[in-house]
Amino acid sequence: MVERRPLLDLMAHLVLLAGIAIVAFPVYITFVASTRDATDIIHGTMPLYPGTDFVANYMGALFQGSQRLRTTAVSTMMLNSLVMALTIAIGKIVISIVSAYAIVYFRFPLRMAAFWMIFVTLMLPVEVRIYPTFKIVADLGMIDSYAGLTIPLIASATATLLFRQFFMTIPDELVEASKMDGAGPVRFFIDTALPLSRTNIAALFVILFIYGWNQYLWPLLVTNSATMDTIVIGIKRMIVTSDAQTEWHIVMATAMLAMAPPVAVVLFMQRWFVKGLVESEK
């Protein structure tokens, strides 16, 4: 710092602490509610500290779901979310890394056309082509399947651009040397390009896992059967706006379970997360 200003430093601490408190407040309330029984919540007299029903509520959510509304067990929902998030993240990375490799290391007719074709998909998010896409998935018989849930989301302009950018920075000498040693494109990819891309892959994985886990509109459209619900869709089904059917203690435990995996990924892979976030922004 340019000069010492203890008062300003103190203010910075206070503002940051207040900021953290504001940001964390909704989650704290959710956590408290997830440890209390139904009556505490329904009467609106819930104290602001955790209660004693932690185990009962989480077990209830995980293995039964909302009994009154007969939803799927949250453990099934989490499994669906996990399959979807992993398939989307890994699928996007695999598909993008090989297409970027083709675009950078081969010369073939229509190479640039292919590149632009992938690039333009940036401008076609699901939200703008909801029903036509849904119709195609329905025609292909992919409703209510993991394939329908994931494959239409697996193309990725962002990841392809990122890998292309990265491959461009690999020095030509490395390619020359591998060729001298008799390595073909597959060898070079496995022995050199892939290991060098490790950090990029890790950074992208974090971002894409969160993206996949948090999908909402698409699963809402392509899954009808309750056993295919992801946790983000399932939690919505547990809330009934107009009457007192909602079992809030179970909903709040489910909300905590829905947040836990992506938040854990951000916190434990923070370095990759920040890198991924900054670089995937084109």
Partner: protein, 292 residues
Amino acid sequence: MQKVGFKGRFFPYVLIAPQILITLVFFYWPASQAVWQSFLIQDAFGTRVEFVWFENYETLFSDPLYFNALVVTVVFSTTVAALSLGFALLLAVMADRQIRGARAYKTFLIWPYAVAPAVAGVLWLFMFQPSLGIVAQQLKRMGVDWNYLLDGRQAMTLVILASAWKQISYNFLFFLAGLQSIPRSVIEAAAIDGAGPGRRFWTIVFPLLSPTAFFLLVVNIVYVFFDTFGIIDAVTLGGPAKATETLVYKVYSDGRLGGDLGGSAAQSVILMAIVITLTAVQFKYVERKVHY
């Protein structure tokens, strides 16, 4: 720039095929369907289809409900962007002072990025639920007649708060990175010339940060347009009386009722035009950043 490459006639096509196939089937085909259908009108029995040029668009623009969705979207996105950018900037400026624990503060501020929009909606819904939410009860004690299920303005406030909350971490991270890339020497020079912290912020830091702020503004608008669908669906379902129905939510809810295929397609095409414009603006900006 062409790199040293490999030879192969079919192999590159094999590598690129999966991605191209998916974009063709799930991106280009539906998008072109939407464009084509937006020029068609189907009669009530679904037996005859007529090509009508821009009639669907004309109907749309003279529809007060579509105009309403447009106004809702603009109000929603500007408020969320202003709120979230302002709050994030304040926090980032504070975290940029080299104080103890700055890294810990950062960790505690970035995690809401990972919360799904629909789940963020549920958290805020619970606090503001008219009969049992703790904030709602506090508001009632203060004499506010809080019921977002009936009052459109209150519903809007609630989805704005939830959306801005979720976006703080993203804005914070980018503002912090922007602040840390400002050369210390410039700030020190100003300090030697006698400029205090406030003056330094407004005359040096803030102008140098404006490209970041502009970039974030565009990203935030895109976020509100497309990623807040989950929040709206969880909290208000677009209501009450369509007070929180954004353009994207309207495409979804109109299509669910079925029927007007052409009108729904026309709405999609307009959204596509909006995304293309926003992406173009964003890229133009990124190009400028290279020259800085």
